[in-house]
Structures are given as C-alpha cells and as structure tokens.
C-alpha cells in the first residue's frame, strides 16, 4: 500500500507520516494558489470569457470582486465575462474559503493568469494551454486600479437572481426523481457513544411517503450512530421519524458545570502554574502587584447561518457521483466522500452552490456524506438538509473560553501584561480529529485559539499563554477564530488600564500602539465620532456611555470601533450608534468591504447580547432560535463605516471588525454603569441601577 504523508502545519516544520489503513481523517491543507493554478480559473472561447471563481460564495460577494479583477486585467466589458461557481472537475484543487484570504491571496494569481491570457490572445493564440507568467503587482493594471472596475461600484453578481428568487443554493437544487433524506441520531453530543436500542420499523413503513430505512456504518458521526430515512416528500420526514420512534442508548453525560470546570482558568493556573503554550514568554516578577485583574468567560456559540447545511447527491448510471453543496471547502468534501465511499476522487464531481451563510461553520464534510450514503442506498437523487435543531446538536461551534488578564502599570503606562487562556480546539476541531490525533496536534499548537491573543501594545513584560482542552461538545472555527474572544478580553482590559491610569482611552491606546496603521484607524474613528467634543448630559433616568476598542486581524487588517449606549434604570440597553474605521489595504470592492464591516459590527452586538448555546444532559440544549437568539433589527443601531485605503497590499476584510466591536460595546456599558462585563452574554439585570 502507498504511504500517505500529510503536513499538519508546514510552518512549524512538523511532518507526520501515517501508513495506509489507520483511521486518518482527511486534513484539508493546500498551498497558496499560484498563477499556474489560476489558468484553470479563466477560459476564453469565441470572444466570451468564463471565470470559475475558485472561492466559495458565502455572501462576501467574492464572485463580484474577482470578476472586477479579471475584467480589468483582461481589458473587457463586464458583460463579456460569466463568473461561475465551479465543480471540482472545472478547476485545479484549491484550498478552502477561510481566514479572509480571497482577495489577499487570490487576486494576484488571478490577475497574473488574466494578463497571460490577454497577451496570448493579443499574439493571436486561440487554442491550447499557456504558461502563466508570475508578473509583479506593479505590472498588473487591475491591481494598480487602472481599469474601470476595481475600486469602483459595480452591480453584485447573483443579486438579481436573489431578488427574483431564482435557484442558487444547494437547498434549491432539484433533480428528476429526487427523494428526501434525514439521518436520525440521539440528541447527545457526538462525543458520547450512542447507538440504536429499538425502533418501530413496521410503523415507519406504513407512513405514506416512506421510501427506505438505511443502516450503514458510514452514517456514524463521531461516536454517534446514525439511522437514515428516505421519503418522497419533505413533510414525510417528520412523520416517519415520529413513527419510527427510535430509542437510543447513550454512554455517559455531562453538564454545563463540567465544561466550566474543565476550562476554569483560575483553577488551572493554581494547579499548573504555567500553561502548555507560551505565545509571549515574558517572566512575571514574583510579588507583582496587579493594577488590573480581570476574568472573562465566553460561552459556546452557534454560527447560526440562515441556511441550515444542505446537499443533493446523485449517482449517474456510469457510477459518477454528483454532489451539489453549500460548503466552504469543495475539494475537502470531494476527498472525504471519495475516501470513505472508496471512489476515485475524479469520479466524484462536487458542484459549488452559493452558500446561505457559513462563518467558518461549513468547513467540514457532514450533510454531503449523509446525502451520498442515502443516494447510494436508494439509487435515486437525495436532498438532505439539516433541521435547525440538528445544526445546534451536531455542528461544531465557537469554543467556550476562560481568560485571566493581569496588568501592572508603571508611571501610568503598561509594564507587565499577562493573559492566560483555556479554550477547546478550533483548527484541530474535535468534529474531525479523534483524541489521539488531537493530542499529536497539540504539539504543534492550535493557531486558531492563539489568533489575536498577542496584544498590539508595547509593554516591557508580556506573557501570553494558553491551554487547549478537548471538551465533550464539538468546537471549531467560528468567524475570526480566537481573535473575537481574544480581542474582547484584551480591549476590555485595555479600557480598565486606561481608567486605572487616569488616562483617556484613546490616548492611552495611541501611547502604546506599535503599528502606525492601527494608530491611523484610531484617529479616524475618533474624528468621525467627535471623540473630544463634549457630549450632552443624559436625562436623570438614563445612563449614557461611549466605548472604544481596536485591533489587528492576522497582521494585515486594522480596525477601530466606537459605540454609544443608553442604559435604562432596569438595566435594559439601547445601542444608539456605532462608528468603525477599517484599513484592509488596497480595496477591490469598497462597498462590499463596508458590508463586511457592517456584518462584523452586528456580530459584535451578538457577542455581547445574545451568543450562547446552553448545554445540559450531555448535549447542546437548544432546538430553535428561541433557545439561541441572534441579533434582531431593533438591536442594530445606525452604523457609520469609514474605509481607510492605505495603499498597502490587500489584507482581509471578512473578520476584522469583530475583534473590536464587542469590546467597544462593553466599554460603553462600563462607562455608562460602572459595571465591567466579564461573563458573556450580558444579563440585563447586571446593569440595573443599584438603588432599584
């Protein structure tokens, strides 16, 4: 048998070698795209161009932005180019759509490929394969902003289809003879072993619309056995499930308190002294007197995209498996399904559809595998879409984390900064990796948990350390990975440091900022909100506050946010205004960068006021949006977004503002009420006036 080698983390230089036959999950890791890869993205025939966009369309409107680059570089009109979402058979393998990389890493190779194609066509070449030239950005007219599209307003691709209700999403796909599937499991976490104990198969078969009952070991998810049902109309799914009345046997249980105890950062520090991984290894002088000492606890939270994950699977008569999917990682889905069904990956054609929201949560293979197994069993196309309850029960979520931040000041400035954190995994998610492999991965360190943990501020002594612990709930990537929770903890702490130093929060930050681009967005947001202007006094029954926060995402994108709040005597809060200044380098589509900022601001609101998945009885105890609410229209204040185009290389825009949005709100609440929010989300009673 062939030996299989997988890079777990190339940057850390660790190579892990496995022999075929062990239960190795497929690890998604593909290198940065090069101009040569990009040639498979762009085609020309008879005066028309087709761009197979090598990114998932998740609502960042990347189809539009990469079309802007391609049209400018090719020197063609908007109408001459069709931007399409590819199937795995259309393009060279490409890595998943994660980490706000689609402009940063894909605009350049796309522009290079388009420049090569343009020159070949100009030289009269009409057929064959051409070698892409890796021209520098300065030699590419699109990236220099010399064309009519990059940096300018353009119509959004697929928006006319959205407002007309035309089929775009995996859940919209319909195939002749299609039937509907669902995989039933015990509601326990897939970390707990569960198996079928009894079911009433005869009753299920008697339900009109029943097609098949499918038992296949491939329907297992984690430790959870799955039983497939297939029906002829969607409404029969619930009726067959009810008639089948499956009883499950589950081993073990856990409660919220168990998770809290596993993560409790103070207990861990008391027990272990220092944590498993130091990102900054400053030594804490014995007997340091802390000026600020804060604990932050951030709970499990759902991605909650409005589209629950869905897939359609169909085997052609010649054995080709076709899948229509709403995933962030097309080729990962192909590789997992091919491996587990023992198919040649070339015989698995996975077609990307527009994704109805993902936010990091649609990066692994779930419904695609379930649909493929059911389609194989019933020899008919199967559509399978998780219920909202299944999303909460069986998807992975933002990990809960527990943070302790201690700061000593000297002469009114930061001297010693210590941030200790315990979290469950993000990149090395337990939704994919078994415990033994996760322990191996811990040697490398989970850079998802670490993301954004090192503060952007100068201090003579900085110690940043973390432990990553496997929890009995599934956790993984969530918008911004660790940067959201870390940014929240850092920026709330920085606010308290400024208070303790008797300094203005803006000037205190500017005094410690290392990066001039961060200083610039701070200054821009301060101008926008008239930071220094006197604010009107609040009426006697109302408390008002203004909060500031800022941050850097992945070293390439900068943000500062100001929030204004009003708090009633009973503790109820109204956000009245948000300002955001954002620098993501050169912008291809400024309006959609603005839209990403708006979205991140709303996620910051959610982080403070609502994001939380309750846990009880060995499972996520949420079945609907009533149990796990997300922000509503009335919670969203007017928002002003200022884009700072620094002319620097393009960075990421999809996850930047989330590092500051939540803390800006929390700092405003602190100013209004004196209460420092340390356990998310906010319980309004915590802010009730003391004399109530």
């Amino acid at each position: 048998m062939m030996r299989r080698r997988t890079w777990l983390a190339a940057a850390a230089g660790l190579t892990v070698t496995f022999t075929a036959g062990c239960a190795l999950p497929v690890i998604p890791k593909r290198p940065k795209p090069q101009a040569e890869d990009a040639l498979s993205w762009i085609r020309h025939a008879d005066g028309r161009y087709t761009l197979y966009v090598p990114r998932a369309e998740l609502g960042q409107n990347i189809l539009t932005a990469l079309k802007q680059v391609a049209c400018d570089e090719l020197g063609i009109d908007w109408a001459q180019l069709d931007a399409r979402l590819p199937a795995t058979t259309d393009v060279a393998p490409v890595r998943g759509t994660v980490g706000s990389e689609s402009i940063k890493d894909f605009a350049l190779p796309l522009a290079q490929a388009c420049a090569t194609l343009r020159e070949a066509l100009a030289a009269g070449q009409r057929q064959g394969v051409i070698a892409a030239k890796p021209l520098p950005p300065e030699a590419l007219r699109s990236l220099r902003g010399m064309g009519p599209y990059v940096g300018r307003p353009v119509p959004l691709e697929q928006a006319p289809a959205i407002v007309r209700g035309q089929p775009l999403y995996a859940s919209d796909v319909r195939r002749p003879g299609m039937v509907y599937g669902r995989v039933l499991r015990d509601p326990a976490s897939p970390e707990l072993p569960s198996r079928l104990q009894a079911m009433d198969e005869a009753a299920a078969r008697a339900v009109p619309g029943f097609v098949a009952l499918v038992r296949d070991p491939l329907l297992r998810q984690g430790e959870s056995e799955g039983i497939g049902i297939v029906v002829s109309t969607p409404g029969a799914l619930d009726r067959v499930e009810a008639a089948l009345a499956v009883r499950w046997q589950v081993d073990g249980s856990f409660a919220q308190a168990d998770i809290d105890a596993l993560l409790d950062i103070d207990a861990r520090l008391a027990r272990e002294g220092s944590l498993g991984r130091q990102l900054e290894d400053g030594r804490i002088a014995p007997g340091t007197a802390w000026d600020v000492d804060l604990r932050f606890d951030i709970p499990l939270a759902a991605h909650a995209p409005l589209e629950t994950r869905a897939a359609v699977a169909e085997f052609a008569p010649d054995g080709l498996l076709r899948l229509w999917v709403g995933t962030q990682d097309l080729f990962y889905v192909r590789d997992v399904v091919a491996k587990r069904l023992d198919l040649d990956p070339a015989r698995v054609q996975v077609q990307a559809q527009r994704v109805g929201g993902a936010f990091g949560g649609k990066t692994i293979c779930t419904v695609e595998m379930e649909a493929a197994v059911l389609a194989r069993a019933v020899r008919a196309p199967v559509k399978l879409q998780w219920t909202r309850a299944q999303e909460f029960l069986f998807a992975f979520h933002r990990p809960p984390s527990s943070h302790r931040l201690r700061v000593a000041l000297k002469d009114g400035r930061l001297h010693t900064w210590w941030h200790a954190q315990a979290s469950s995994h993000i990149l090395f998610t337990n939704a994919v990796l078994p415990p033994w492999l996760q322990r191996l991965a811990n040697l490398v360190g989970d850079d998802g948990v670490a993301r954004g943990a090192v503060p952007p501020y100068r201090a003579p002594v900085r110690r940043v350390e973390l432990d990553v612990i496997r929890l009995p709930v599934l956790t993984g990537p969530w918008r911004g990975l660790g940067a959201g929770p870390n940014g929240f903890a850092i920026e709330c702490t920085m606010d308290e440091c400024a208070r303790r130093a008797g300094a203005d929060p803006l000037r205190f930050r500017l005094d410690h900022v290392q990066d001039p681009r961060l200083a610039r967005v701070l200054q821009r947001v301060a101008e926008a909100c008239a930071w220094d202007a006197p604010r009107p006094a609040a009426p006697p029954d109302l408390r008002r506050g203004r909060g500031l926060a800022c941050g850097i995402y992945k070293g390439n994108s900068y943000v500062a946010v100001v929030a204004d709040v009003e708090v009633q005597r009973d503790g109820s809060v109204r956000l009245t205004q948000l300002w955001c200044a954002h620098d993501a380098g050169r912008l291809v589509n400024p309006d959609q960068v603005r839209a990403q900022c708006e979205g991140n601001l709303v996620w910051g609101i959610g982080m403070v006021f609502s994001d939380r998945l309750p846990v009880a009885d060995g499972r996520v105890a949420a079945a609907s949006f009533a149990d796990a609410p997300i922000p509503r229209m009335s919670e969203v204040p007017p928002m002003q977004v200022l884009l700072v185009d620094s002319g620097d290389a393009p960075g990421g825009a999809g996850e930047t503002a989330i590092v500051a949005a939540g803390a800006a709100v929390a700092n405003a609440l602190r100013e209004a009420t004196g209460v420092r929010l340390q356990r998310l989300p906010l319980q309004p009673a915590a802010l009730a006036a003391k004399d109530e």
Partner: protein
C-alpha cells in the same frame, strides 16, 4: 386541492397535500424563493404573502391557504420582465444581500409593510422586520432599501 400562487392555479396531487406550503412551493412547484431557515416560524426566511399579509409558509398547512392568494418572491415581477418591483430594485440599488438566503422573506416583508404604511418611520420599519432574522448583518441596508422604495431616497 387547488392553490392560487402568484395568480396561477395549481392542482396539488394527493401525495403532496400533507406537506407545508413551503415544501410544496419549493419542492413540488419549484418556486424556491422562499427558504427553510428554522421550520418553526422563528426566522422569517420562508415568509410569503397570503392575501397580502406576511405569513410563515413553513407553518402553513395547505388547507389553510387553499383558495387564498399566495404571493411569493417570484410573483413580484413577471419572469423576464425588464423592470423589477420597486422593492426588488431598491434591494439592488442599496446592494443589500450578503449571503442572500433571508432576503426573500425580507423583501416580501417590505412589500407588505409599504402597502400598509406607504411612508413608514424608523420605528415602524424596525417593528415590521424584528422577526426577520439576518445573520450576515444587512439590517442597516434593509432599512435604507425600504426607505428608498418608499420614495424617500437613500
């Protein structure tokens, strides 16, 4: 059983009559504008108009809507028509959609609001949309698009 969808009559075969309006629209008739977001009427992605009123189609059994006028997103402007409904056009002009999945429900909510209140104030807009969830964070653009469609400009 007959349904009246976007001004057209459709005979619904017996094997679909136990399904919700949403399932019949999407899977039997191929009108996929309305979306399944939660299945229990809490997100609004499946919103359609029944006799002009916004309703959650994931909760509607067919007998409840038989004989009543159902309007889906597809019914706002005829297929192939050069001009869109003013609310659809406002959604494009304000570049509202991110992922777009909730927008059918948002647009139909706007259509119903503007029929009832041609010039809604900010509080009326927020009240009309508070049950229409959007996770991408397009709320501010939805407000602008509603005001644009109401003739108030951007």
């Amino acid at each position: 059983m007959q349904l009246n969808i976007n001004g057209q009559r459709h005979d619904i075969p017996a094997d679909w009559q136990q399904d919700t309006l949403l399932a019949v629209l999407r899977e039997h008739l191929g009108l996929v504008g309305a979306k399944l977001g939660c299945g229990v009427g809490l997100c609004g992605a499946c919103t359609v108009l029944v006799d002009g009123e916004p309703q959650r189609s994931c909760l509607l059994p067919l007998p409840v809507v038989a004989g009543r006028a159902v309007t889906t997103l597809e019914g706002l402007s005829p297929p192939g028509a050069a001009t869109l409904h003013p609310v659809q056009q406002a959604w494009l002009d304000e570049a509202v959609p991110q992922c777009g999945y909730c927008q059918s429900g948002q647009i139909l909510t706007a259509v119903a609001l503007l029929r009832r209140v041609p010039k809604p104030d900010a509080a009326q807009v927020d009240a009309a949309f508070d049950g229409q969830l959007c996770r991408c964070g397009t709320q501010q653009r939805i407000r602008r698009a509603v005001q644009r469609a109401a003739g108030g400009g951007a």
